[in-house]
Symmetry: C2
Subunit: 305 residues, 2 copies
């Protein structure tokens, strides 16, 4: 199966610490790499994580807080210095482009590649990216300003041909593509061979949901139902429940409850407040509700099998 990986470049919150960088992730699906959020220092984290700069063509910004986008200008500049030619697509609240434009005009003159901003309406659940194998949808979240998560979904895949049966029926090459799509086969003497005898089920279509920053937001549950992997912010421990509410963030328990209600397979928690010197407290609190919880950490790669 093609790789479907989430690389954690940063999983801290507003105040960076020596333990956690500002938020950024790379979602690698096959040979495509998508960046989610781009806090200050993201390009350095890419270096440390050996992410190829030239493979990142699409960047998705969840919301306009500095810890999720201050690394963009440096990354855009570095791409230019590295001689990039491929277009770069940034999906974000349309305000971001207006805020960055003066700096882009000055610091990134003669960029050498095309930079496209694609406006996101964070209040809508909609498909913002699609190619031959995946879709990316927005997940409206509840934060202090417009904010959305992103749902990465593989499209339904093709069925696998059973080599011995294809050979047995001597099926011509030009008919095989249809079999992968589920077609039956009719032999030259008119016998119908049902598809189920010629193929096996396709690989499952995997999915990954990224949800940060947000209050616990039950409206996303239907969209992320049975996702293979959910990253959900867990800025606070339960003792800071009131603070979480006040700042439109979630506790580890709340993140776990969303995972449980959505019946996802695995949960990663991140966006840890700088007050926690040891994030294992957050892990314990989440695992009480949803045992298949993992702590994000810089450099970690979560692999969806």
């Amino acid at each position: 199966m093609e790789p479907f990986e989430v690389h954690i470049l940063g999983c801290g919150s507003a105040l960076p610490t020596t333990r956690h960088n500002a938020t950024s992730q790379i979602v690698r699906i096959g040979n495509k790499q998508f960046m989610i959020d781009c806090g200050e220092g993201t390009q350095l984290q890419m270096r440390r994580s050996h992410i190829h700069f030239s493979f990142v063509n699409h960047i998705f910004i969840s919301h306009l807080h500095g810890d999720h986008c201050f690394g963009l200008i440096g990354l855009i500049s570095t791409f230019a210095l590295l001689g990039r030619k491929a277009p770069l697509h940034i999906y974000a609240d349309p305000l971001l482009q207006r805020l960055m434009q003066p700096q882009l005009d000055f610091f990134c003159k003669g960029l050498g590649y095309a930079l496209y901003f694609h406006p996101i309406d964070a209040t809508l659940h909609t498909t913002i990216y699609e190619d031959n194998s995946i879709t990316i949808e927005t997940l409206p979240l509840e934060h202090r300003l417009p904010c959305c998560g992103f749902l990465f979904k593989e499209k339904p895949k093709k069925r696998h041909l059973i080599g011995s049966m294809i050979e047995y029926y001597n099926i011509p090459i030009h008919l095989r593509a249809a079999l992968k799509e589920g077609a039956h086969y009719t032999t030259p003497d008119g016998t119908l061979v049902p598809n189920g005898r010629l193929t096996t089920a396709p690989d499952p279509s995997r999915s990954y949901a990224y949800c940060s920053d947000t209050l616990p937001c039950p409206s996303i549950i239907e969209h992320i139902h049975r996702a293979d992997l959910l990253y959900h912010e867990a800025t606070f421990a339960r003792t800071e429940h009131a603070r979480a509410r006040e700042t439109y963030h979630s506790t580890a328990r709340q993140a776990a409850q969303i995972a449980l209600d959505a019946e996802v397979k695995q949960l990663i928690i991140g966006h840890f407040s700088s007050r926690y010197k040891d994030d294992s407290l957050l892990l314990r609190e989440a695992q009480e509700i949803f045992p298949a919880t993992h702590l994000a950490d810089e450099g970690l790669i979560f692999d969806i099998k």
Copy 2:
């Protein structure tokens, strides 16, 4: 003697690497901390170097290339999140404020402290900061856009009273301040006691010159003459002489020649091109001309005794 230290937070050049961060330094003189340049990731480097955020009140930006200023917006935001109340002063090309203003207005609303931009004219050699113990002067440099270095100089210090002599002559307390300034003393019976019998020479006034980014620039030599410490960019090795010329940078040899001609006591070289995996080549080339050369590196502290 009070501390006079240079903390290297970053000494890489335009492309950050896993070895070197973008440019930033803290100059600590007594209990004051001045920041020079603020590339992306500077606030993280401050954390790693245990620099107290609240002691930094003045930031000097040499020029408007991203690797010298992209960290400012994050630092300004973090100061606000930490509840800063003290004003923050930024000394930079006036264009910087115009470029940052849209982002300041949006990301740093209700900052909680006053932010002052002080325009620098990088073409002038002039004093841009002065307090009771030090001055900071601009040093016009030659780069692809307006750029200046900064010369930190302690003001002349007071002479030291010789305790036993003060006691011997029983000199009243209210007259002692004048002695420290060099005044003679006349005893009640009219005898003149020359200052040299009552005091010893003041501590030397130390100085530090920061010069990055620039072509070798002989016009600075008179200003940095006999400085205790010079930081000079050395982006390239001698084999890249032409490239240095073309990009308005210096080679390690050229940096060393400036140090030699200016008769400074110590030289630090930095702003290393990302092409060098081992900076010791640059060190060797500089030391051939100026033996008292040191390599900058993240986390290093250079102490002027």
